[in-house]
């Protein structure tokens, strides 16, 4: 079923069709929210809420327009709301940065940032990918990684910084038209 058919079916209450739309758009939405939020669960929560917003508002969606941009607008609003809601609970220093992020909302990326990053990750070797996964997805502390790898925490921090540099350059290259 193509996206148009999925939208038409979802508007009539077909949950499977809506799940199809979620499947189509979730990666791009996660990539979009991750531009403003770094915690994995925060991103998933905001994306989930955005899709629930879309489900509730589906009968108001103008079918002559593109679904993706409409969804991403809902998602950007949800992200801003999340950032604003957490301000009172944040340490002052972190809240200052959050306020700067709120003041300059992220613009629509020209590509699917998550997909580009995944292509760039494939260029790293398995041990490097594993290290990044442990640190950023599993949340393993640098100290703990250092103990596991038999290196100093500073050395692990440097390795992570360099890997992020490599990925950043790779992603920037993809935006400027180079092959990632």
């Amino acid at each position: 079923m193509d996206e148009r058919a999925l939208i038409t079916a979802a508007i009539t209450g077909d949950q499977d069709a809506f799940a199809g739309l979620v499947r189509l758009h979730q990666a791009r939405l996660r990539g979009l929210v991750a531009l403003s939020l770094s915690e994995r669960d925060d991103v998933l929560e905001v994306v989930q809420e955005s899709f629930v917003d879309a489900w509730r508002a589906l009968d108001r969606f103008d079918q002559t327009r593109e679904f993706g941009p409409w969804l991403r607008t809902l998602c950007r609003n949800r992200t801003l709301k999340f950032l604003r809601d957490r301000l009172p609970r944040r340490r002052r220093e972190l809240a200052l940065v959050d306020e700067a992020l709120i003041a300059e909302p992220v613009s629509e990326p020209v590509d699917d940032r998550l997909a580009v990053l995944r292509v760039c990750l494939e260029r790293l070797d398995a041990a490097q990918r594993r290290l990044l996964e442990q640190r950023f997805a599993d949340g393993v502390a640098v100290q703990e990684l250092a103990t596991t790898l038999g290196k100093s925490p500073n050395a692990v921090s440097m390795i992570l910084l360099r890997l992020k540099d490599v990925l950043h350059r790779c992603m920037a290259g993809a935006v400027s038209g180079e092959r990632p």
Binding site: A34, L35, V97, R130, F136
Partner: protein, 446 residues
Amino acid sequence: MSDLLSVAIAAYHDGTLDAEGAALLTTALRGPEAAAVRSRLALDGLLAQAFTADDAVVRSVRERIEGERSASAVVRAVRGSLAVNTRRQQRRPRRAAWLPRLMTAALVLLMVGVVGWLFVVADSERPLCRLMAMDPVVVVRHAKSVTVTPGAGLYAGDRVRPTTAVTLVWQDGSRLLLQPDALVVLRTTRNDHGVHLELGGLSAEIAKQRPDRAFVITTEEARVDVVGTRFHVIAGAQRTQVDLHQGSVRLTRVSDGRALTLRADESAVVAANEDFVVRSRATPTPVVPPSTPTIPQEPAWTPLFSASDLAAWEQQHGSWSNTHGTVRGSDSHHGKARLLGRHPFADLELNCRLRITGVEFAEVQVGNYNWFVEVPAHGTEWIQVAVRQRGEQLTITADGVTLKLKPGDGAAMRAGPLAFYVMPGGTLEISEAKFRVPLSEPPTTR
């Protein structure tokens, strides 16, 4: 980008940003470098997402909208019922001027109650965690027994008492490994979430939690507040024992509210006749009395495969069948064949017999291809294979000979499901496969 800015970005993500770093970062976010800084700032978040399974969102959204639909149906039903009542009222002769006002007020109160109730219903519709098990587990939900299949969600209030070891997995990756016959009730409140352990033992690996929403394990005697750690809890007859492996937890004695902070490799016991003190795990803590019948000192063996199907397994490649618990896998098109479990293990003892034909070896993979061994074929003979995984120590033997471990996707040992793999053109048979999750402590050395 300057090193100082990179350090400030790292500190922002770690939550350790100081005033100087905040000033540097906010200035950069409003200056000409804003796009580059923003892009760099986003990388940590994108990395976390890159390693997150794509179906996580699909599943959670489905559950939410199913909950929404149930709630909407209740609203429609209530509205319908109210509409009928209102019409009946209109047909009645007017009895008093105050009656409509009173009814309106009652209606408003009723609607407020219904909306509040719907919020509760919507929240309870969201599963707290998922069941990872070899076989379905019977759960008591709303005073009724329901059968929960592996992978399905579990909800607040569910009473879970598995007959074999099962794992409960939260969306943030936290997991509780319940020992056979452990009895837990899932709970959530505005400020915390977790389980109440009525009886038995469980091992916990808790992901980093938000400061305002702790993961809490309660027993009749104690409360364990967790921020992110790995530990073991046994609740017996009026006695709770907590053994901590990593991180720190806050342990509170319910009877008098006294609290202790446990750190790595420390234990404590909450019981009427024992001192409530922190003990080093070098000093052995008394175990729960053997007279407690529900806590097995040595866990029983459990069949790895059910008697007839492979519902708890994912057939990633090739064709797999299960005949009375003996599993056979191959690929008629001479492709590879891989059978991946859905149940993650951290500690594991597995015994099974393998028969490998058509190729020189088959692989037993641990931790979802974290580490693996090549089991050499032995003609058409069966080979006795034993897997012993405790903490970071893994040993796999074939007919008593220790096999060389090979790294799959990384060096650090982690919990994950088992997998069996056979090269193209080969056939792998697995019989008499049984496993158990050891209760004893993992060794401190690798």
